[in-house]
Assembly symmetry: C2
Homo-oligomer: 534 residues x 2
């Protein structure tokens, strides 16, 4: 998939769909509708009335699809049943101009519908789904740089509504533009509650794996749109092992039924990523081959070509496999990043490098300073890092384990940690390293590693426009920083104090000799002198 753009991928889906077209196109549409225009990257949704459940028909298993056309381009999206006789299909246009569609189905009521709509300019601030950019980085589909600064709240949508609203308010003020979250409810330490909604129809404690509960998905969609409104990508975890309801050990057929339904409903939401599993290697009822197969189901179903990865506990999935778009790591081995980047040729996100907090678990109690340091080490090594937070109250009740604490990592709520400000500063620094939006084609990959412990952003691939040095535990009172042969400004960055101090003068030559504060975890930014303003 390396050389296949998103648009190519959509074409390919269209080509596959073309096999159905000889039947669909000559047929006289039973109806032709003119929809209002739809903005690029928003959702075109088609709703039809179709067969209701009876002794013969299970509408959740009725297959139907919509073939969308623009010129000679064809894209096929699967529709889905939403209950109450309503059949829906969703498509996210990625190009302006007129689109036509026809429908295809084994069910006569859903077959041969046709219509058209115009795709208009994207909303200001809407840049499309996130895609791989320049091998090891990301951008939005329109080319706008996207640098993931994620957080983790696995079960936030399965908490009481008031807590979900508090989570959304917290995210609004936080520096995160991606969140790892489970589709299924979660049963794990510190989180044993029942969710309000279940994905499958449920009677008592028995799941009916032949029917979905549309309320579950409507709720999930609301939360995805809530995140979208804040510019946050939903890194959706599709399977996980923390389960007492049965979702971790469904049949292969049910797994695929669930995946196709999920993709049909959510694929048109631009801020969706697919994380096939969390800690796949802890799911004892599935094998590695099962996940390979499920990746193929996912890739085949997804006309919109969202990012796809999988997260492990101990046994790393082979991220070199062509159906994986990026690595989703559980490790703090940042020093191995350059070698892995070279081997995989894909973006790497350290999705779990332990969480800021004070939890009684090794993975949940690193300090804010260490969390921030790990963000810097990830970025400096050409990768991206994801935050998580697990703070217990410092009370006797918490020590005696007779409270049910609200932990951001599981429940959402509020943030108690102190790493956010520094993460926000780093995100600004990285985003400022990208050119101004007007020159989106000028955006190019960080050249990494440019120097030891430094990352350089070089839009023209030659002269670094921005160079970030991170000093980690080093604290020289002065240091000669290597520079390319150009004129640079220098700024001293104190991530812990969230300050940036300009050094007077420009620096030209092989090195810039700077006087520094004698304290660890500082950074220095050099910017080409003529681009440092504006």
């Amino acid at each position: 998939m390396k050389n296949l753009s998103r648009r190519d991928a959509l074409k390919l889906s269209g080509a596959v769909a073309a096999a159905l077209l000889p039947a669909a196109i000559p047929a006289q549409p039973t109806s032709t509708a003119q929809h209002a225009s739809v903005r690029v990257w928003e959702i075109f949704e088609l709703t039809l009335q179709g067969p209701r459940e009876d002794a013969v028909i299970n509408p959740w298993k009725v297959r139907w699809s919509v073939v969308l056309s623009q010129g000679n381009r064809r894209v096929s999206v699967d529709g889905f049943y939403d209950g109450d006789g309503k059949y829906k299909a969703r498509f996210m246009p990625d190009a302006k101009g007129p689109w036509t569609y026809t429908t295809e189905s084994d069910a006569p009521q859903l077959r041969g519908h046709a219509g058209r709509f115009d795709a208009t300019d994207a909303k200001p601030g809407a840049h499309g789904p996130v895609v791989v950019h320049n091998t090891q980085h990301f951008s939005y589909a329109d080319g706008t740089p996207y640098f993931p600064f994620g957080t983790t709240s696995y079960a936030w949508i399965h908490q009481p509504e008031a807590l979900q609203q508090q989570t959304l308010a917290t995210l609004k003020a936080a520096p995160f533009n991606k969140i790892r979250m489970c589709v299924f409810p979660k049963h794990y330490e510190y989180n044993h509650n029942e969710p309000e909604f279940y994905p499958f129809a449920r009677s008592g404690t028995t799941n009916d794996y032949t029917r979905f509960d549309p309320r579950f998905f409507a709720h999930l969609e609301r939360r995805i749109l809530d995140l979208q409104a804040m510019g946050i990508e939903a890194d959706l975890i599709l399977f996980h092992p923390y389960d007492r309801w049965g979702y971790q050990s469904m049949s292969a057929e049910t797994d695929a039924f669930y995946l196709r339904y999920l993709v049909a409903r959510l694929g048109a939401y631009r801020n969706v990523w697919w994380s096939l599993a969390n800690e796949w290697d802890l799911m004892k009822s599935k094998t590695l081959a099962d996940f390979d197969r499920l990746f193929h189901v996912l890739e085949s179903a997804d006309a919109h070509g969202h990012l796809r990865s999988i997260h492990y506990s101990v046994t790393m999935y082979d991220y070199a496999r062509p159906w994986v778009t990026h690595a989703s790591l559980q490790t703090d081995e940042f020093e191995k990043a350059p070698g892995r980047l070279a081997a995989w040729k894909k973006p790497m996100v350290f999705d779990e490098c332990k969480y800021e907090g004070n939890l009684n678990k090794r993975w949940g109690n690193i300090s804010a300073a260490e969390m921030l340091r790990r963000f810097w080490l990830g970025v400096i090594n050409g990768c991206y890092v994801t935050h998580g937070e697990t703070y217990l109250p410092e009370t006797d009740a918490a020590f005696n384990e007779d409270t049910t604490p609200t932990l951001w990592w599981a429940h959402g709520g509020t943030l108690h940690g102190e790493s956010s400000a520094g993460i926000a500063q780093l995100r600004r620094l990285v985003e400022e390293s990208a050119p101004r939006p007007s020159s989106r084609m000028g955006f190019d990959a960080p050249v990494n590693p440019y120097y030891l412990n430094a990352i350089a952003y070089a839009p023209d691939g030659k002269t670094a426009e921005t160079i970030l040095y991170y000093l980690d535990s080093h604290q020289p009172v002065w240091y000669e920083f290597p520079l390319p042969d150009a004129s640079y400004t220098a700024e001293l960055i104190d991530p812990a104090a969230n300050t940036i101090t300009m050094v007077p003068g420009n620096f030209r030559g092989k090195t810039a000799k700077l006087r520094l504060k004698v304290k660890p975890f500082q950074a220095v930014r050099f910017r080409l002198a003529d681009t440092a303003t504006g």
Copy 2:
């Protein structure tokens, strides 16, 4: 050498010397002297008048030796010329009781002298040279535990006398019981001065590699005794690449000439370790085979069997070689220690894991907190760590490089850093883990790794008497620490604050649940309840 004790090694030297004995023993001694008694681990020194330099004889090249006997045991030590017609030989008795000796030489004046002396109880506090104990640890030769907590001051003995005295005063108040120091003067960044003494006779800038300057060695010996009086081991670096005088590129013959002379003079000083080279791989005029050969010269010459190692810059020497007694590492890869301990089956000392300071060099500017953290990580992984300090003044003059700063790592002087108190605390904790001196045979090796991130000291090899946990960057508000099935007291240790707080009550069972401060870099000590007092 694994199963060869120091005493065995002395016997072996004696056996080698025995080849000379048939000539020596039957000969009628030309003189028999009764010396005053000598304490065990002190120096028996025999001085004879011998041939002075003339057209034929170079007294520096006259070989002579003293064969010492106790019962059937024989030990041969080489003598050395000290100038002015004086020939000396030195021996450190390691067993009480009567010793006899005879001398052997090609020079008639030095041949056939005999005498006797009594070795008496060691001085209080004198425990003999440091030897390998229980594979991966050290003790003094009398079995008293020795845990190296070293520092580094490469060229302190080549500074003005007042500065040397200041260094000694600093060491007296510091927590260090080993110092890495060069025999030869050092030419390196921040240290370009001329020494007061040169090891070889010198005319202008020309060395006479056939003659030593005894003033150089007498000075070195004074400094070794100064260290000995403070209980500090002199980890003597015998070759190094930082040189403008020619000592790094002498002939193979001169190298051996120098080594044998040095060993003859210093071997009887109990606090001497041999570090064959510093950064051997940076000595461009020597090969790996040269160092192998020099190890053999050293091992062959040294009747007292002092510890032998070698230090590298990038290319690690193979510490599995049988003539190396311990590893002298330049790395901060503490996580690799357990594997290397298992492979080498020798003690490991992290002799350079970077220095506390603010220097404009990557190896010389870690924070005090990081230096202390590295000591803890070394100890917790069953190894030992060496300190160094490189603080530049925070002045314009230092920034402009128009001052000659005094850096502990090169010159000695005073310590400006803040890691010493924490290092002292860790040394106390480790030393307290050894049994009281009265039960010296009860001292046994730390069992490591006992638990992840913990080191346990188990004198009987079964029940851990002391368990040290180090939490590194983890900061749980409470934690359940695994324990053996016995009753333990618990203490919370804050290395940065240099505090130890007893937790009320005893802990018995599989775990001890402790409430902790939410801050990184803390430790916990558990001690068997019945040994925790006294």
